[in-house]
Amino acid sequence: MNHDAYTDDFLRDLLGGTRTVAMVGASANWNRPSYFVMKYLQQKGFRVIPVNPREAGKEILGETVHAELKDVPDPVDMVDVFRNSEAAGAITDEAIAIGAKSVWMQIGVRNDEAAARAEDAGLKVVMNRCPKIEYSRLHGELSWGGFNSRVISSKRRKL
């Protein structure tokens, strides 16, 4: 698996097979990147469950915050990592332990050893990317802001 470049098909399949996201490092502060991503993914129909020991028991965007991944009571498809590259190692192991289908590390977060362990356990891994940016890029919304989506197609996009 080449983690320097992901194909659009790989990202589409991964996002398309995801309904529930556990967001580790979710912030309750509305102007932090994790809050932006959580709100956006919720609007796109994903359920996002925040994980953050400092906010445990509180609510972010209508969802109860859990201290650790293993505390999340519902099945999780994707674990989205808003922590640094080192911390991403242990979080990836927890993601494997709870039976997640994928681990997604945010921009600036990369842990190749953890990615290899996850892939050996059958999980898909994306590193150094943002699911909000990739989802909006693949669905035409990023283009609205003047961004290069790198998507060329003469097919009509579904609204």
Binding site: N31, P33, Y40, C130, N148, K155, R156
Partner: protein, 430 residues
């Protein structure tokens, strides 16, 4: 398209950003001639105003037709994003706006288009921005001008009108050693001839009025971000991008938007507050032009080289400054940076000085005497008596626009007709 094949230049020129309209299936990009866009509800409006969700609010900020143009040019330049503006001059201000503050300096090439020299040398001072001009032929001149107030280096890769090609790669290295971004005005080259981001530039600006639009129909500009410059490692220098923005409740653009930050700022603050947005109609006209950019630019360059060679052997011509000629000191740079051609704008000197220059521009019939470049039509101007007349004698010569200089922008007409028209006018003026 298939993931394993990067689209070629001409495919991007026709398709990038221009998928069929999702609402109607319209294949050609619709002209969204509207000022405003409805909100679904108050929460949707709040998410849009907080920059949490992509979407349209008001056409001063973003517009669905204009965003197609932005994406297309970003794709052609190999950039991450782009901000379209009302004109090329607006693009220059918008490019610098996130970087500058009162007292800050931009190091600029002395060989910029005369209008840019005026804008930077005079009007920028009203913002407290100081332009420091250096001769661009020796890249080390830029290094010598760096101070702790420098916030950007600004050059034209192919200078208008002097036929000077700047060593973009060397200047980019100097900019990055100094911890500032390199901004390149690539209007004369267009991405068909050269992509400055590939040579290390951070930001590219265009007057889209010229070759990109191509037909002399629509005034416009664009700022493209390559997103290689890390604002957060220079947090003190670039507070607009790398420190909390009070107007957005403490949001830090470079943290929240990562590599999108500069372009988000360009719309959400730059266009919002400076207001120099491109109209949907102009964006649409420019998109029509870009579809044929590759075909036109090659013809422009081929015609220009043929005309330059003809002039070089003409008795009423003292010299020709075209980087595509064997006689040009910039031919090696041209081969490196613009192998497909050295553009279609160049200057030559008449043997009879200022008065003869005026006679020639008045004597042509096919050429249009006007102040523009990059039209399908061949254009002619005598800079000293028109575009550059606000400059001092010293600035005129420095800008390659001395009293004997005529600037041509060679069009895509039949080249024999272009040559015949010039020959007639030169002979009559002798």
């Amino acid at each position: 398209m298939a993931d394993d094949q990067a689209p070629g230049f001409d495919t991007l020129a026709v398709h990038a950003g221009g998928a069929p309209d999702p609402a109607t299936g319209a294949r050609q990009t619709p002209i969204y001639q509207t000022t405003s866009f409805v909100f679904d509800d108050a929460d949707h409006a709040a998410a849009l105003f907080n920059l949490q969700q992509p979407g349209f609010i008001y056409s001063r900020l973003t517009n669905p037709t204009v965003s197609v143009l932005e994406e297309r040019i970003a794709a052609l330049e190999g950039g991450v994003g782009a901000t379209a503006t009302a004109s090329g001059h607006a693009a220059q201000i918008l490019a610098l706006f996130p970087l500058m503050s009162p007292g800050a300096e931009v190091i600029a090439s002395k060989k910029l288009y005369g209008g840019s020299l005026n804008q930077m040398g005079h009007s920028y001072r009203k913002f407290g921005w100081n332009a420091v001009f250096v001769e661009p032929e020796a890249p080390a001149n830029f290094r010598r001008a760096v101070t702790d107030k420098t916030r950007a280096i600004f050059i034209e890769n192919l200078a208008n009108p002097g036929g000077v090609i700047v060593d973009v790669e060397a200047v980019a290295d100097i900019a990055h050693e100094a911890g500032v971004p390199l901004i390149v005005d690539s209007t004369m080259a267009t991405p068909y001839l050269s992509k400055p981001i590939d040579w290390g530039a951070d930001i590219v600006v265009h007057s889209t009025t010229k070759f990109l639009s191509g037909n002399g129909s629509a005034v416009g500009g664009v700022v493209v971000d390559g997103a290689r410059f890390d604002w957060l490692t220079h947090r003190d220098k670039y507070p607009s991008l790398a420190q909390p923005a009070p107007e957005y409740h403490g949001l830090t653009f470079a943290e929240t938007f990562g590599e999108l930050a500069y372009t988000v700022y360009g719309h959400a603050v730059g266009l919002r507050d400076l207001g120099a947005s491109q109209s949907p109609m102009n964006a649409w006209i420019t998109l029509q032009g870009i579809e044929t950019l590759g075909l036109r630019m090659q013809r422009h360059c081929d015609n220009a080289l043929t005309v330059a060679r003809f002039l070089e052997s003409h008795p009423q011509v003292a010299w020709v400054s075209y980087a595509g000629l064997e006689s040009s000191p910039f031919q090696a740079q041209a081969r490196k940076y613009m192998p497909a051609g050295a553009g279609s704008v160049f200057t030559f000197g008449v043997t009879g000085g200022y008065d003869m220059g005026i006679k020639v521009v008045e004597g042509v019939e096919l050429f249009s005497h006007l102040a523009n470049i990059g039209d399908t039509r061949s254009l002619i101007i005598h800079p000293a008596s028109t575009t550059h007349r606000q400059l001092t004698e010293e600035q005129l010569v420095a800008a390659g626009a001395g009293p004997d200089v005529i600037r041509l922008s060679i069009g895509i007409e039949t080249v024999d007709d272009i040559i015949a028209d010039l020959d007639r006018a030169l002979t009559a003026a002798a």
